[in-house]
Symmetry: C2
Subunit: 228 residues, 2 copies
DNA sequence: TACTGTGAAGCTATTCACAGCG
DNA sequence: CGCTGTGAATAGCTTCACAGTA
């Protein structure tokens, strides 16, 4: 009875996307020495409703105690295992401009479950630089380095024009998880996951809502009248 | 009949989140001189199914021509207006470490619809620096600067420990849209929108799927057995 | 008693499939 | 004819409300 028999299959995507938030909240609680937490408290710490949290956790199994709550350490450990963070995934970052540099620094320090094993760039001035304790290698050697160091996750922080080419080369040598910071759509073979992070998109979504909040501000740019 | 009578209200969130992708694809097409595009082609360029694209665009109004497709310039203009990008939203970036620096550089150049009007940091060594043509100001003057320059959108790129405090000060002086890069949950008053961008979360979601793809790789770190 | 886990209901989003129009 | 726009069907997600349990 080490692993639970039920609920191991098909955790909904929406739930998976929230598990990292729960894990972060649990680690904060653990640091403060809190041994146990109710769904109400943990939900508040993660910024969701308690019913949603309970539903999410029910997909992992029954790790709560009725009348009491969830054991902080136990639940943190469980989510860590479920997310696949019990091992250190080898990560390569391609493109070390401003953004890639920032990502490398952040990843080198803060994040458990991942290890930066390769930094790659095209620019001869950047190749050879030390960033967060690693030397930047030439992107020309991408295949050799990625294969040799067993990279599982590729982070693309190149300009948009280079992103698809880099992505093709990564997937060609077996990388099946890609995090794309370039502002473009990537085509990948079946079986490869791509996630996209895009500052412009996020700002534009905010702008949409901001515009709806501030009809008074339209006197600044009187584009057209809206009927009612 | 300048603005359409129908379909101006409640565009679904899922649709709003995709409009930026459509806009990007349309701008690419416009640059290549393509005058008109079918839902099938535009959907492919944006990485979605054509039925989804048509449903999304139907929420904006009827801007297509049956038997032909959508006018590239006209649709781009329409989405631009709908997203609120016909004006330049004043943006403040708080926190100019590696990440804030990268964001400032990116925003200064690449993005229409937004203008960086303030860079703020706490560190005396950073205050006074020139970044992307702007001088970093002291975060102590946040209220005066944000109010004086009419900031509409605040970008938080501070460490997690400072993020809530900065957010409180931004919302206190009327900022109602916040983009949060700090790895923490922000509490905000009603009427304020927060969007979060988080490298760790994205990597952890990839790790979850990667783990499900690669049961063979478990020999590398044999943590525990899973029954069947 | 105080809480979790979950059936059932309601809501949102996606997809199908085709009527209707240029 | 070829394509858009959309009713209808489906799938997925969230919320309610409470039975069940330590």
């Amino acid at each position: 009875m080490i692993a639970d028999s039920a609920a191991r299959r098909d955790i909904p995507d929406a739930t998976v996307a929230r598990l990292p938030q729960y894990l972060r909240a649990l680690r904060d609680l653990a640091e403060r020495g809190v041994p146990s937490v109710s769904s109400e408290e943990l939900a508040a710490a993660a910024g969701v409703r308690s019913a949603k949290l309970r539903r999410d956790l029910s997909h992992l199994g029954s790790y709560g105690v009725r009348g009491v709550g969830y054991g902080v350490d136990m639940l943190a450990h469980e989510i860590t295992r479920e997310l696949g963070l019990a091992q250190n995934w080898p990560v390569a970052i391609v493109g070390l401009g401003n953004l890639g540099h920032a990502l490398a620094s952040y990843l080198a320090l803060a994040t458990r479950g991942f290890q930066v094993v390769a930094l790659l760039d095209r620019d001869p001035d950047v190749i050879g630089q030390q960033i967060a304790g690693m030397t930047v290698g030439p992107v020309d050697d991408l295949e050799r380095i990625v294969t040799g160091r067993g990279v599982a996750i590729g982070v693309i922080a190149t300009p948009a024009a280079s992103a698809q080419g880099v992505c093709d080369r990564l997937t060609a040598v077996g990388v099946r998880s890609v995090l794309n910071f370039a502002p473009c759509v990537l085509s990948v073979p079946a079986g490869v996951d791509v996630r996209k992070v895009d500052l412009s998109t996020e700002l534009q979504i905010l702008a949409f809502h901001e515009q709806r909040k501030a009809p008074a501000a339209q006197e600044m740019t009187p584009l057209l009248e809206v009927a009612p």
